[in-house]
Symmetry: C2
Subunit: 645 residues, 2 copies
């Protein structure tokens, strides 16, 4: 079954093979994809290499070992009804791996990976039914019928990830691809089944919305966008079951354009909001865009961890109330971080507001970089900000449940995060830069090359930096058009005191975006971001970290780990009269440890004693939060109690 879509007469949209994860037709800035941006080593280049060398093969291995990819073979040969492996959404893991492979092939041109992609895609294609339906869990003799469980069935969710994988393929190798054909048949099936005259249902887990919107952008077929809009607009009317977690779990408690804040299941909320931005952008629906902006801003201001993590509760994997941001057992799912990046990147393209690029950076460095182990063979599912106990080592031969210990398990029974990481790492280049007729905008700093068309011709840039180890960023102009063009640089919100050197002069660069005249070919612009470590305090309504302080350095959230303290991190107190100490790349803070007598009861009429002023104080190094537990099981805290002064 090697049908291609070429025979359908589809017209590839402009920029179709530019390696763009998303390609809105309107908005403040235009994205630049993998064809135009390469990351050349450094912090993110190393992680892209790790993704290629370790994470993708590791995930592929586990999907075969657990027989989730094998479900497609068993669907094709008719044995899946009695012999299916994994949860109801396991098909999506194979699709997300395919998406990760597709971007990685587009980035690296790896022919071995291309062959593996073809092999899996063919197995997926063989399981598709004649009318385009494709799901290994439903619809065959001995299985529940199709579309009998909108709350938990995840059929449309799986279609969404299938389509996103096909979009990655279309945007890297083009429409003439097996998986693109599969996805188009699936999308056509979805439009027939759920169109204006079809089933009026919505899926329990959003994802189809971003996928259909992007497939519209790939193909120009309006009905895909219309269908995405239908799924967005049908929400919030309580058509899904009112389960224990509340209707907000399914994002069905309030219509998207009426909500004021993201609520309920964090990944569901963020995927839906991203899809709503896509629909709003394509249709010029200012009210819908304003609604998602309103929700996202309040969520960033009141429901987001210092790490960029979202979702406070284990129960229901959901957002907490405003300012309910307990560091202990913060759920902060890796996938919610990825979903937040998807949403914030879309809002950045739509509005040009630096707050969204700041959120992307924070989440990349402190959630996406935190999840994988150094060897790419273990992952955090949740990303707590305070680990009080080391826990036990996870089973290395069986999937774990989320992450209850300090150590990163190799895989999970609900294993959305590792596959989500593969596609995120492989497509990181797409977050670096954008362009418009006037010039080029740099949003994320990494050693990289950027090519972009502006009104007068092509700009070709090379960015050289050790960021985030230091804050010195050099932009060399390798080629520039003859006329004027503008170079816009993001100054992160924390970078108070940044300086830009351009045209032979130095000027202060306020947080936000700073624009300088684009140099001629051979010219250079330098941005110096202040990288001294700094104390960070929370809004006083975040009760859970009252009297505590965190340390950040550049975009990195730092953490105190028991291995460096040599004691229970719950006993550490930091003194904050002076700034944290920078010793080269290391950051140290003055720590005293308190000694507490055990009591029968943890509450007393007397105010707890402060730290003994005679108690020894020493400088203890912090680590980057993303590095924690890299040296073995540990306890760790981001927020540290201050010594009472």
């Amino acid at each position: 079954m090697t049908t291609t879509s070429a025979g359908r007469g589809l017209r590839p949209a402009a920029g179709a093979a530019a390696g763009l994860p998303i390609a809105p037709s309107a908005g403040r800035w235009r994205p630049l994809g993998l064809a135009d941006v390469t990351i050349d080593g450094g912090f993110w280049g190393e992680r892209q290499a790790l993704n290629h060398d370790a994470i993708i093969p590791h995930v592929d291995h586990w999907l075969e070992k657990l027989r989730w990819t094998g479900n497609f073979d068993r669907a094709a040969d008719g044995t899946v009804a009695t012999d299916r492996a994994g949860r109801e959404f396991s098909d999506s893991e194979t699709y997300k791996l395919l998406e990760g492979m597709a971007w990685e092939i587009g980035r690296s041109g790896d022919e071995v990976l291309e062959a593996r992609f073809h092999e899996i895609a063919a197995r997926v294609a063989a399981a598709q039914e004649v009318d385009g339906y494709l799901n290994t869990k439903f619809g065959r003799p001995g299985q529940h019928p199709r579309y009998t469980d909108f709350e938990w069935g995840h059929e449309l969710y799986c279609f969404g990830h299938l389509i996103q994988a096909a979009v990655a393929r279309a945007r890297t190798v083009g429409l003439d691809d097996v998986l693109v054909g599969v996805a188009l048949r699936a999308a056509d099936h979805v439009c027939r089944e759920f169109g204006p005259d079809g089933r009026q249902n919505i899926p329990g887990h959003p994802e189809i919305e971003v996928a259909l919107a992007e497939l519209y952008r790939v193909t120009g077929e309006r009905r895909y966008l219309d269908q995405a809009r239908l799924f967005v607009e049908r929400r919030g009317h309580g058509t899904l079951a009112a389960i224990d977690f509340g209707q907000q779990y399914f994002q069905d408690d309030v219509p998207v354009r009426e909500a004021d804040v993201l609520d309920g299941h964090a990944v569901r909320a963020l995927y839906l909001a991203a899809g709503a931005v896509d629909v709003a952008t394509e249709d010029g629906d200012a009210e819908l865009l304003a609604a998602v902006e309103r929700q996202t801003r309040r969520t960033l201001a009141r429901r987001t961890y210092l790490t960029g993590g979202m979702g406070a509760h284990f129960e229901g994997e959901s957002f907490g109330a405003d300012f309910e941001l307990q560091p202990e057992r913060s759920y902060s799912e890796t996938c919610a971080g990825i979903a937040s990046i998807m949403l914030n990147h879309r809002l950045l393209l739509a509005t040009g507001d630096a707050v969204y690029a700041d959120a992307v950076e924070r989440t990349l460095f402190n959630i996406v970089a935190t999840s994988p182990a150094d060897d790419g063979r273990g992952f955090y599912y949740t990303n707590t900000l305070y680990q009080r106990f080391e826990g036990q080592m996870p089973d290395l031969d069986a999937p774990s449940v989320r992450s209850f210990s300090a150590a990163r398990p190799p895989f999970f029974a609900v294993s959305c995060c590792p596959t989500n990481l593969t596609r995120t790492f492989a497509s990181l280049g797409a977050y670096v830069a954008t362009h418009d007729d006037d010039g080029v905008q740099l949003h994320q700093y990494a050693p990289s090359t950027v090519r972009a068309a502006v009104a007068g011709g092509e700009v070709h840039l090379r960015v050289t930096t050790e960021y985030p180890t230091d804050g010195y960023i050099v932009v060399d102009v390798l080629a520039a058009p003859p006329g004027d063009w503008a170079l816009t640089l993001r100054v992160p919100s924390w970078a108070v005191g940044a300086v830009v050197h351009a045209g032979g002069a130095a000027a202060p660069a306020e947080p936000g975006y700073i624009t300088v005249p684009g140099p001629r070919s051979g010219g250079r612009v330098e941005l110096v971001l202040p990288m001294a470590p700094r104390w960070t305090y929370a809004d006083p309504r975040v009760d859970a970290v009252r009297g505590q302080v965190a340390v950040e350095r550049g975009p990195l959230v730092l953490a105190l780990e028991s291995i460096d303290l040599g004691a229970d991190v719950s006993l550490a107190r930091v003194r904050t009269q002076e700034p944290p100490v920078a010793d080269g790349d290391r950051t140290l803070v003055p720590v005293r440890t308190v000694t507490l007598d055990d009591a029968d009861w943890p509450y007393a009429a007397a105010r707890p004693a402060g730290v003994d002023p005679e108690a020894g104080e020493r400088l203890v190094p912090l680590i980057a939060y993303h590095q924690w537990a890299s040296r073995g099981p540990s306890t760790m805290r981001v927020w540290m109690p201050e010594v009472c002064s």
Copy 2:
């Protein structure tokens, strides 16, 4: 089917009709039951009346409305396989109601309630199978076979509650009772099925252990105790499934006598620990008793809320780590409070240590008293210490899920708490006093009468008090034996500065137990507990309330409610230089409210501004925590941030 047990030749154990919920044959002190202690009005008398007048009829109504009690009829007529209502443990709700009714009949002699008890008991009896098995969920044609789901089936859990209801009956009206006969046949079935040569399984939810131990005490039949011991000793070897919540959820991760702290699902942990105390006490198993003491002490010192509530997590309804006691979304299930009282009362009887009686008092006044609405027709399932949002009014016609809002729902889909309250309120008298050969011990203060045998004869006491409104407790001796006897009074741990007046002299009474010579008939002893409101601080390792303070007054935890503040409670700051203000029964604290500008991001490099010293300060009344949301939906906090001084 009106078989009685009389024909079995069972010999009622001593004190069988004394109204004793538990009757250990050994231990430091001997309990006094409902036949010997009456509560005569006051705080707890009002709640016993509410239980009789409202809670029991309300619960009975809902069990019929939801057709859970009706399951027994459908089991008897053979239609239950296709027409069963409720969750897998719903039989236990009817049993717990029957237990509540039995104690209430024993307490009040209500003949209408006695008739209703007979009616329900007959319906239960009709559903029992010939071999003693009884469960409406399993074993009939069309249902799953018996004992095919030890993790979630709850068959032994239901047997446990059936037996506890029968014990209540045996201890109030005697062994000649329909329900006692049903329970004995069920217990015999359990012993046959799960004895040394039978199935070596354990149930997913402990409860059978306390029940069988008590049935042994009622009947003197040793095999019931042996079976209880088997269920205790078989735990901790990982024979139940390793589910997402971890093996500690099922209390199967570590053997009872090896554990150092209560962990996992709180109610399961506490019921099991109570059963282990029963087994240890009957068998003189000092190692097992010491193990449970060790676990309970660490749990009280590190995993218990100020309210006495236990279980921090919604996820898995489980204990958190040591000192992980977040006030926001504290789970603190009502049933865990009741289970904690069961455990602590047993340890008190076994050891005579006041710490356990203190725990009982704290939990009674701040969990058990908090759950029911003033009208007895709504309940808290969870008991949060910080409610940031009012939430929505619960559905008054359908069972709710736990308690996500400020208001108390009328019933729950998993409705363990209301039925548990019925039996707790009806049997409250059993916690008031104990005796031994030397004298009488008073543990809980309420207007009450106490009769107790001591070596020289009978002591008859009348306790008069307005406690907890004031701390003046008068013990009048209505009758006393001719020789010496001792009156022992508990001085709560918080009552620093208490004074006892006895024999014409006043003496300081240190927290713990104080013993005075028992007066002759007509004599009086007075205890004066200091009831000034006091600031309470938490161990500095409880990060979640750092920089915050609570107020207690006597045994009551107080709370700040939005209705009194007239503002968002998250903005309140209290000044603590002077003690809280006592204005008669009212307690007021000096409060300033902070005004905060909304920001795009809740974290900043600057330390948050303290309260403006010019900001208005006013005295705001607190309420008893158990009263919160009595005036309608509100926001509430127990722990209040202090004004930085």
